[in-house]
Amino acid sequence: MTWYLRGKAAVVGAATAHLGAAPGYSHMEIAAAAARAALADAGLTLKDVDGLFAVSMHAVFPALTYGEYLGIQPRFSEATIVGGSSAVIQMLHAALALENGLCDVALIVYGSNQRSAAGKLHSPSGTENLPYEKPYRLRAPIAGYAMSAARHMHDYGTTREQLAEVAVAARMWAAMNPEAFMRDPLTAGDVLGSRMVCDPLTVRDCCLVTDGGGAIVMTRADRAKDLKKDPVYLLGCAGGHTHRQYSMMPDLTTTAAVQSGRTAFEMAGLKPEDVDVVQVYDAFTINAVMLLEDLGFCRKGEGGAFVGDGRLRPGGALPFNTYGGGLSCTHPGMLGIFTTIEAVRQLRGEGGERQVAGATVGLAHGNGGMFAHESTALLGTVAAL
């Protein structure tokens, strides 16, 4: 079939704010700073925003909270909460709303002060009653990812060393990103020898816990051409989910990224080998292995060997999480929007020292819950249209 939405909307603004530690700032202040910066990036202001796509771990009604704080009364709002995956699938929702005239300027915004406010993961879902799992004190989310890692190692012979390589490569990219939280050199030995949190994952197999906000602005493609920066077109976007409770995950080593990736690639008319930069939600090192398999970059079971040969490092065959990812750049609770922001920066040639030369197609992938919701976006420059 022909996918009508391909290239109909574009990202025209993208920005981060307060990445790292932002003591003394609320999540709303952080989100608003990101929103203003993304709008300035596009040459627009808050007065232009008539579509609001909000996501938060701190607010029960994120669209209402951020709308009120930003002082806007949008014509169209939504606040999809599917975990860290949310901001990526919200690009699809924004494209639908834009194409149907429900809004003209869509703002996707996220902010969190989880590091400074609590010093640990913060989630409203922590208060949700999950009676079939609660008695066993599952340390969410890491214990779920640990059990997927353990099963992947059992079924396919994936090794802890291969997982560690994901963290090592992320740190190498982070070293070239002034925004990254951790930039000191990291070796596989450091990863393997650091504190075990949930076997087989050590603290260096885990993402950071930081503050930070991110925002992107989208318009219809015709208007995008007249704004400040070169448009980055949404070529394909799709999502999918398999469970809520980790114990209900149908197959611990296969995610809904199979579905989201297939549909997003089909919509875009592209294949994995067409992608120049890959930004995948790396909450844990096992994410890179399983999601690259599910997205079609390698076959199921081969992800360990695929990531283990250094191809994710700067200069490697697959430029991957070029900002340092959740493992070394930032992870303020929900990473989805940051995968998109880095894809946009690379496609605009704004990557500085870490720029991948000539990137025209980028993939941003979000992951939510414990491998529960997956969302894939393919973005491209005008050359990819």
Partner: protein, 127 residues
């Protein structure tokens, strides 16, 4: 039992130290978590049956915790002989000694006044 939903039914049985899971009266599959409809055939009628208690560890982790906070503990997913998977833990062995493929047997225990299902190693391995 009084008229109630499957969640309340499950926990009412457990509270009476009688572990049961629903089995679809139409297609015969066991259903977990309990639901108002069979996810296989959409039937709405179930028999509540006692599982054999036999299972195999599908995956496992050790949640590392400081000794002062109670020490390390196991969390595992168990494939029951009835064809459903549940979250639980394996007790009686070092949490790090729990292995994927390890045969286990269910046991009811009291935790903070609540009856829960845990598992013990049943010896051997099907690996």
């Amino acid at each position: 039992m009084t008229v109630q939903g499957p969640d309340a039914t499950y926990f009412a049985y457990l509270a009476a130290t009688d572990w049961r899971i629903p089995r679809c009266r139409s297609c015969g599959v066991h259903v977990f978590q309990p639901r108002i409809m069979c996810p296989t055939c959409d039937n709405e009628a179930f028999d509540w049956v006692a599982p054999s208690g036999k299972g195999v560890v599908h995956s496992t982790t050790v949640v590392r915790r400081r000794p002062a906070d109670g020490g390390d503990y196991n969390v595992a997913l168990i494939d029951l002989a009835e064809g459903v998977r549940i979250m639980s833990r394996v007790e009686g062995v070092d949490p790090a000694a729990v292995r994927i493929g390890m045969p286990v047997a269910a046991r009811l225990t009291d935790q903070d006044g609540e009856t829960i299902v845990v598992f013990d190693s049943a010896g051997g391995s099907d690996r």
